[in-house]
């Protein structure tokens, strides 16, 4: 027979776990968007590619 424990404590734990989970997802999303915004703010990203190809051809 399956043991089913329903207690207020479990509701509180679920509430907390869901809260922490949402906060972590929010944090990841913030860091992701922030990275995109910062990289876009660096100017023309193709400059980086040209720099890399120059270094490769030199070596």
């Amino acid at each position: 027979m399956a043991i089913k424990v329903e207690h207020e404590l479990h509701k509180r734990r679920l509430d907390r776990n869901v809260g922490v989970g949402l906060l972590l997802i929010g944090f990841v999303v913030i860091v992701l968007i922030l990275t995109v915004v910062k990289v876009q703010g660096l100017g023309d990203i193709r400059e980086m590619e040209r720099f890399r190809s120059r270094r490769t051809s030199r070596s």
Binding site: V5, H7, E8, L9, H10, R12, R13, D15, R16, V18, G19, V20, I30, I33, L34, V37, G41
Partner: protein, 310 residues
């Protein structure tokens, strides 16, 4: 024994209990003034970087609130107004509050430094330190000038917001700081006049307890008079304008009249109408601050549309 709570020994907090540690009502004021500081600055900010900046300031303010609740748990348990806070009511353990306060302080300052600039992050770190250590641990229990000096902690957010946008400090940001700094004493002393017994029971040396209510009434009037030139002075800076000046004249007249009303009363009058005037002035003081910063925001919006300013 079937009671799980008794088996574990301690109450396990809900997410909302942790959120309450961060003093969400105080956070509203912090977010609003920091947002105004950021938006009135002459340098445009990418909306997402601005959002992260304000989020960090809010989390930093919340962290200092948690540290304050950890340190003040003993006096919070005595005062009626604070007895239901998470630690005195047993919903959150003191160690948890300390951990959350320290972790969120570090998180908010580091993220602000990475997202914006070192000055903004440094100012936020100093604000947290000032509120948690200078105000909570030192001034609050040792001097009746606690809220005068401690008010600086609540005055920093618009400066941090300005620094997020500009990376610097300017007379305008210092004046926004001064506005909140000078506003804090009359605001809190009006509150202390109608919750007097609470502070006394907790041995917090509020001016009402150490120097009496007559002196407090005098101080409210004195600080309100000193506040007026600061509030009006902002009108003539680059962030002010006619709309701000009109609002400031109106609000300062209203607040000053309230302060005079408090000054003209004595305890007998106050007891007779259950501190009606003191409660009214406390409410006016809230409109006062939101009104001034709201007017600065209006000026900023007008300026971006080619209007506003002088």
């Amino acid at each position: 024994m079937t009671d799980v709570t008794q088996q574990t020994g301690t109450y396990e907090a809900r997410m909302g209990d942790y959120f309450a540690l961060m003093k969400p009502r105080v956070m509203q004021l912090v977010v609003f003034t920091a947002l105004v500081g950021l938006l009135v600055a002459p340098v445009p900010v990418h909306p997402f970087i601005g959002f992260v900046g304000i989020l960090c300031i809010a989390v930093g303010a919340g962290a200092s609130g948690a540290l304050n609740m950890w340190w003040d748990a003993d006096i919070d348990a005595v005062m009626k107004r604070t007895q239901s806070r998470p630690i005195p009511s047993g919903r959150v353990q003191p160690g948890e509050a300390l951990g959350i306060g320290l972790a969120l302080s570090g998180f908010s300052v580091i993220l602000l430094a990475l997202a914006t600039n070192l000055l903004a992050a440094g100012l936020l770190a100093f604000t947290i330190f000032f509120y948690a250590v200078i105000y909570s641990m030192w001034l609050k229990r040792s001097t009746p000038q606690n809220i005068v000096i401690g008010g600086a902690a609540g005055a920093f957010p618009p400066m941090v917001g300005w620094a997020v946008a500009t990376g610097g400090i300017a007379p305008e940001s210092v004046l926004m700081f001064a506005l909140i700094f000078m506003w804090t004493p009359p605001h809190f002393w009006a509150l202390a006049l109608f919750v007097k017994s609470d502070y006394g029971n907790a041995d917090v040396p509020m001016l009402t307890e150490t120097h009496g209510r007559r002196v407090t009434r005098n101080h409210i009037l004195g600080y309100t008079i000193a506040l007026v030139p600061v509030a009006l002075g902002i009108a003539f800076t680059s962030i002010g304008g006619p709309v701000y000046l009109a609002v400031a004249l109106l609000l300062n007249g209203w607040f000053l009249k309230g302060a005079v009303d408090i000054w003209r009363r004595d305890d007998a009058d106050s007891e007779a109408d259950q501190h009606a005037v003191e409660k009214r002035v406390f409410k006016i003081s809230l409109y006062y601050l939101f009104g001034h910063f709201g007017a600065l925001l209006v000026e900023a919006v007008l300026r971006t549309n080619g209007l506003g300013g002088w």
